[in-house]
């Protein structure tokens, strides 16, 4: 009985091991397939047109789909007749998973949203030649002149190569309520200390000083990151990436400490940890809050009379101010170009190239006139009357010499996620500034 039982166990164990090894061998085969796929793609070669111009966007970004539809119906109708536009959508949170799956099946659409890490030169897509570095191709087709140099520079900084179409070009800073600031007898803060004083005055007067969306994580790390950029200088996070500095250095820890102090002083208002982005925007535009740090994508809400109860003329925009004694400057605005929208080199045939050329030529004017969205494309043609806030942002954009990224921009995806998730522990005082930065630096080091 025992012998039979033991024999049965051995047979079962052998079968399990054999199955595991067989499957493991199959998995290993995937490696070879991927390698060979990578070798065959040069990364800049012109591909073959598919049957349609398939664009995969995030569910959360209807504006891009609407503007592309508008182009397909008007300025790009000839391109659309030759290669009809088709939309596919995915949840932005599922991007890495879905794109990894599609790319491994050779089923990437012509134009698709991708994860920041994926499209970098050492990323799964960027390293495998599965995204087009379009500068050369656009230069050949003449479309490159429609990509604004500042937007191109930002894309190059974030992704390490020109692999994302600049449908957005955003600056970041504090949106504030001019009426409340005047009521408090204050001018636009020019230094971080003045910003803290203004927050204190607003809190005493019963306003939410800075309405940040703690539930989203990143609006909090932006405040910390900007303090670090102003304190250390515009290359602060590049130094960390390159191993020349550590987040545990005192000047970086000071950034985390500044955020914790700001939060614990009540400057972010009651319940900021569970506050959502929409609630934060509503607080600013309904006159409950003095300030909100956000991007210029907020322009569509500021320009919308139904959402903006205090009136467009009462909302101002200012940069994150100087930190006294810091190496950075308030002139160095953080800039970004939205989520990565990559081009599939395998389907970059002549008809697809025409589509991209048409988008580059017309998107800037279309999006600005129709949705008040500022993009990284040149505005070719009349856009009518532009709201004052939009004009102000345009003016700032035209005068900027140097931009900075955001705190997590150069971090790997795991550290990026950790920065956002742990920030609530930092702001509620459960984690010290040193602990926060130490954990983050450990994550960065382990993912190098």
């Amino acid at each position: 009985m025992n012998i039979r039982h033991r024999r049965r166990t051995v047979v079962a164990a052998s079968a399990l091991l054999a199955t595991s090894l067989t499957l493991a061998a199959c998995s290993g085969g995937g490696d070879e397939d991927t390698d060979s796929g990578s070798d065959s793609d040069s990364g800049s070669s012109i591909g073959t047109d598919p049957d349609s111009f398939e664009v995969m966007t995030a569910n959360e970004n209807p504006t891009l789909r609407e503007q592309l539809d508008a182009l397909a119906a008007n300025q790009c109708s000839a391109e659309n007749d030759a290669l009809p536009l088709e939309h596919r959508t995915i949840a932005q949170a599922d991007t890495v998973q879905q794109i990894t799956l599609l790319a491994s099946q050779g089923a990437l659409p012509s134009h698709f949203i991708a994860g920041t890490d994926q499209v970098r030169p050492d990323g799964d897509l960027g390293g495998g030649g599965l995204v087009l570095d379009y500068e050369e191709a656009f230069t050949e087709s003449g479309a490159w002149e429609n990509v604004l140099p500042a937007a191109a520079s930002t894309i190059e900084s974030v992704y390490g190569q020109m692999v994302s179409m600049p449908y957005q070009y955003n600056l970041e800073g504090f949106w504030y309520n001019k009426e409340i600031l005047a009521e408090l007898g204050l001018e636009e803060p020019q230094s971080y200390d003045e910003l803290v004083d203004a927050a204190d005055a607003a809190a005493e007067a019963g306003y939410i000083p800075i309405a940040q969306a703690g539930a989203d994580g990143w609006p909090m790390t932006r405040l910390m990151g900007l303090y670090i950029f102003r304190n250390v200088g515009p290359d602060a996070m590049a130094q960390v990436r390159d191993g020349e500095a550590s987040l545990t250095d005192p000047e970086y820890v000071a950034g985390a400490q500044a955020l914790q102090d700001l939060a614990l002083s009540g400057a972010l208002g009651e319940g900021f940890i569970s506050r959502t982005g929409d609630q934060a925007t509503a607080a600013l535009l309904s006159g409950q809050a003095l300030m909100k740090y956000d991007g210029t994508w907020l322009l569509s809400a500021v320009n919308d009379p139904e959402r903006n109860e205090v009136g467009e003329e009462n909302i101002g925009f200012m940069p994150f101010p100087d930190v006294s004694g810091g190496a950075g400057s308030a002139d160095q605005y953080p800039a970004n170009a939205g989520a990565a929208m990559a081009i599939n080199p395998e389907t970059y045939g002549p008809l697809t190239a025409d589509w991209f050329a048409c988008i580059a030529e017309n998107y800037g004017q279309q999006a600005l006139s129709d949705a008040g969205v500022l993009s990284g494309f040149a505005v070719n043609g009349d856009v009518g009357d532009i709201p004052a806030a939009t004009a102000d942002i345009q003016e700032r954009m035209s005068t900027i010499d140097e931009t900075v990224l955001w705190f997590e921009a150069l971090l790997d995806s795991e550290s990026n996620s950790l920065a956002s998730t742990n920030v609530s522990l930092l702001t509620n005082g459960d984690m010290s500034a040193e602990e926060y930065m130490t954990q983050l630096q450990e994550s960065i080091d382990s993912n190098r």
Partner: protein, 293 residues
Amino acid sequence: MTRVFGDRKTILILLLPTLSIYVLLKVIPVAWSLGLSFFQGNTLRGFEFIGLDNFREFLGDSAALNSVWVSVGFAVIVTIAQVTFGYLLALLYVFVLRKGSAFVRTAVFFPMVLPTVAVALLFKSLIAVGENQGPVNDAINAFGGESIEFLASTAGTMTIAVVMTLWSSMGFYAVLLYTGLLDIPEEVVESARMDGATGPRLVGYIIIPLSLPILLSSIIFSLNATLKVFDSLLALNNGGPGTTTAPLTLYMYRTAFEYAEYGYGSTIALALTLLCLVFTLVVFRPSSKRVED
């Protein structure tokens, strides 16, 4: 007929379709996942055989070990609470409400049919704080207390998660245990009563021992369901604050699908499977002997 079903070939032919589907849908994916845990990478980058490195990494990964504690802590607390409250409700149905328990049973069971994400959003709105105070904080304010931001702390988030899970699943265990109590012969209960056993003595000496099999099944169901908790904690506070309430399932999801590390994700999945197996055996082995006795 007996000869037909006694024939091994017939049994094999009849079982083959179901067995094939089972192997295809269950055994192969599990074996595949087991195989992947010895590799690093993803379908796009390719896979590299790394032997037991993923297992070594798991044992030294503080985030993973924290997730294990979150899963185990949540499972133990919720299981104790939901089986206890479920059993008390079942006793209430049988011995107090009797035939009039149908409405209460339905009312307590009702939250079970709601999607867990909807339940989490409901509880979030109940405990909201800040510009829109929820009813819970309104009540606290009414008694002179200051608003509490439950989701800002680990203890607060876990408390809400436990209460939420209890509210939504207690009715299921109540009904499950109620059916077990109905199986206890009326004569046995009456005899015990005639012998003077009433109230807690009746429950302790007669009802609990006789309903032990269904009670243990409930504990095993509950442990396995709560060890695999995912959507409710994700929707409630995204595993936060920080990652202090992130269960193993959420850590596995993030590793495999957000960081595209399928090999390590499979290792975490295997750890979760082993955890479920260990808990089931710990509850089942001694109890099965006792039931047989």
